[in-house]
Amino acid sequence: MVTALDESVVEELGGILGDDDGVLTNVTSRAMRARVPAPFPVHRWFEYMPQVVVLPRTAEQVSEIVKFANRHRIPVVPRAGGTGLADGAVPLRGGIMVDIKRMSEIKEIDLVNRTVTVGPGINMLKLNEQLRKHGVMYPDDPASYPCSLVGGRIGTGGWSLLGARYGHTRDLVVSMQVVLPTGEIVDIGDGGGRKLRKSSTGLNLKQLFTGHQGTLGITTEATLELVPRAECEFAAFFAFDDYMKAHLTTGTLARSGLATLAGVVLFDERKLAYLRRDDEAYIPQPDWVVSAVAATLYGTRAEVEPASKRVMELGRSAGGKYVGDEISWGDWASRHDRYATPLHGRLPSGEVVPMCWHCEDAALTYSELPKVREEWHAIVQRYIDEYGIFDDWGMFAYTNGAYKPWGDYLVEIDVGIWEEKLNDETWAGWVNLKREIAEVSLRHGGSITACHGATRVGDAELVPTEMGTAWEVVKRVKRALDPNNIMNPGKQMLDQAYVSTDGEGSG
């Protein structure tokens, strides 16, 4: 069990936070912030607890906490929603968990220059409920839309289901305020203006501070893009008797040139088989339906209506059959909710057991999708056969590029794990399974993570390999910004930044 911090340390933190109930040391406060929804070694839960939790309200408090942590060499782990899928917010070395949920205000809505400035602890759905009356929205729409928070989206470099149309988190954040690993509060944007979208002054730092998985600092405020609320939304789902026809159609739609295209999604055979277990839209489908493609459009009616006709043509161009209005309507609106239900889990016998959802999130080019699917399913089947507590929930491939749906894909294999049966042996098996899957991605010129982050064991070991020649630069940046290795240490192999060339380590 990770022990609580010494009294004097807790007292000093209390002094920084003021009289608020902002410093939590009791065991449940720490235990409840150990995991994120990704599969978790339940049998070792208490090895992953922070030593103390703080709930700051201001950037100044965050700054003081981080400076304090540097003085005492105590790790800091930033936590927003704790809804990530790659353990970015899981403490590996105890330390101070900085839980930013109380920094959740809307600070400014600028309808003239089209920005909204918020604390990192606000959820996008709740933000958009407030923005609606102004006819605008912040269209960052992941599967976790109802529960993830802006700060976590920035920390993970999130991906949006509407990315082809509106961009992803990194395209939608105009500027931000960050507390560096050494405690300074800095403003990061495009050039010096908070509301500028493009500048070439100095060095462009914004993308560096997006997707760092909490290893380069803590976002304390963000200025976000406001887009006009869509007049019109269109979704259509097509069924196929052959995966390759579906794959072909996916590419056709992705290259269509339709400006209102928000995304194309390809469902593989195992995904259809999985959906037939408990999804009312797929259970009644005839046996010949083995694969599916979905396409969605957002924009003005003048654009979407004609584009929808084109989508219907292209969706059918390789033999796709329209699944109908009701399913297209219902399935698209269900996009946040279908994934994580534990009772999707099945043993090889077909019996229902609650399983934790692992979502692999490789980025792969279009050409690689069919082969990767074969290799991944073969790997998962081997582990199902050996351990019996895993389950193959099939694969999705989503258009990945912001505004550019024709290039690469977020490719997901969903694996269920009967978590309560995990022990050291099955956990090790699980880690190997993850690593094998990730290695396939690299062999096919892909990335081991499009958006979740490579902060989990089984992925993290491959980060230096994937980064290749850029790894040296990554290490230098990490060491420069975080000399004491206190900011989310142990993640993404960044400890290597502190190993001197003769092999002696620090940090």
Binding site: C147, T341, P354
Partner: protein, 420 residues
């Protein structure tokens, strides 16, 4: 890194006796059903979470704590305070995809309200129940009604005064249809039962009152005092049988919950009463022309969906139908799905133990209403109206009950008082 570590005493569940093991065994499926997902769709709809932003008050934590207890890593004492932070509004368990998307398919849904109540019952068994709740329920046991007027000198509490609200209305005792009047309405906001009674009389709906009306027992169940809840339920059902009742009109959402969930659980097949929620009856009376709403009311209103009608029971259309039938009203609606994340903070004993959180929840609710530029917030739950009215007075919005408006539109001078 850190300075000298403290020594932690490991918790041994076996030393704690049977209670905790039985509890964990019983709620294990519920716990893992949530913990294996952990996706926290519940969090942003939870009224307490919207105020405290403390993950320990999330439904996720309520379930995860049980897994932690199973592992012998935390005790009931460690986790008890978390479970105080809940109004039992039901938003979480409804919004959870395990309910909303697959709860019907698997015949297994998220049951956070039951989990919270079960933990609170365990706390009572172990002597860990909260001080203010102890006092409240002890007083309820003494008075046979909740001490909604406080227990200062001369407060007209208790059974001798439980029918005072009905003075001058000539309502019989007994009969096939009984109108059950909850404690807050009977003692604190008596305009509501008076309005309801006179509406039913005007529409020609026969009904009577109980001989001895005790508290429904619901609040006791919500705060963990299961034996007391059951005892009160037995008394009330005995009274209903004694007067030949077949139908019970529940004028208050909390009662509707208890009579349709707890009472059937206590009594099984022998619970053969028909339970009617007043708004459905009133909507029917208006629809059938038996109640005419002819006096216009010049107000700009918005409607507060009571949690125990909207989220817990799916009753959201009848009140809107009623509001649209009241002449003269300008009705600015917020849809009932958006209102899954709204609450008054009044339920689950929260105002008794955490009044500052309950007050902030109401303040935020009135903030939403104020954005619509209304002069009136209409609710249909008397327990919500006290905290909402307190917050309303800060922003110049009056809080009324839907039944009060209906009575006014029907030309009824309800009478009654608020408070002692």
């Amino acid at each position: 890194m850190a300075t000298k570590p403290k020594s932690d005493t490991r918790y041994d569940p076996r030393a704690d006796g049977q209670l905790q093991e039985e509890f964990v065994e019983k709620w294990r499926d519920n716990a893992y059903g949530c913990f294996s997902s952990g996706h926290k769709f519940c969090r942003e709809v939870c009224p307490v979470m919207q105020v405290t932003r403390n993950e320990n008050h999330s439904p996720t934590a309520f379930h995860a704590n049980i897994v932690a207890m199973e592992q012998g890593q935390v005790s009931v004492e460690d986790v008890a305070d978390d479970y105080v932070h809940c109004t039992q509004c039901g938003a979480c368990e409804l919004r959870c995809p395990n309910t909303l998307f697959t709860g019907d398919f698997y015949r297994h849904r998220t049951e956070t309200v039951k989990v919270v109540r079960a933990m609170r019952a365990l706390m009572v068994d172990k002597g860990l129940d909260r001080q203010n709740w102890q006092v409240w329920n002890r007083l309820t046991d003494e008075l046979k009604n909740e001490p909604v007027l406080g227990v200062g000198d001369g407060q007209p509490n208790g059974q001798e005064h439980v029918r005072d609200w009905a003075d001058g209305l000539d309502i019989p005792v007994g009969g096939e249809t009984i109108m059950f009047v909850d404690c807050e309405a009977a003692f604190y906001r008596t305009s509501i039962p008076r309005a309801t009674a006179q509406i039913l009389q005007k529409a020609g709906v026969p009904f009577g009152l109980m001989r001895e009306q005790w508290c429904c027992g619901g609040p006791a169940a919500e705060m963990g005092y299961v034996e007391q809840s059951r005892a009160f339920a037995e008394h009330n059902v005995a009274d209903w049988r004694a007067v030949g009742a077949k139908r019970i009109i529940a004028i208050e959402p909390h009662d509707y919950i208890h009579f349709t969930e707890d009472y059937p659980a206590y009594f099984g097949e022998s619970f053969d009463f028909e339970v009617i929620q007043i708004l459905e009856l009133v909507a029917e009376l208006i629809r059938d022309g038996r109640l005419k709403l002819e006096r216009p009311i010049d107000r700009v209103v918005t409607y507060h969906d009571p949690c125990r009608l909207n989220k817990r029971k799916g009753i959201y259309e009848a009140p809107r139908e009623i509001l649209r039938a009241i002449p003269g009203l300008t009705f600015k609606d917020i849809d009932h799905v958006t209102q899954w994340s709204y609450c008054s903070g009044g339920g689950g004993g929260l105002p008794i133990e955490k009044p500052e959180i309950a007050a902030e929840i109401s303040r935020q609710r009135l903030g939403r209403a104020a954005e619509l530029e209304v002069d009136t917030l209409v609710s249909a739950c008397v327990w919500s109206e006290r905290p909402l009215a307190a917050a309303g007075s800060d922003v110049g919005i009056e809080v009324l009950d839907l039944i009060e408006l209906v009575a006014e539109a029907a030309g009824i001078e309800a009478g009654g008082r608020e408070g002692a």
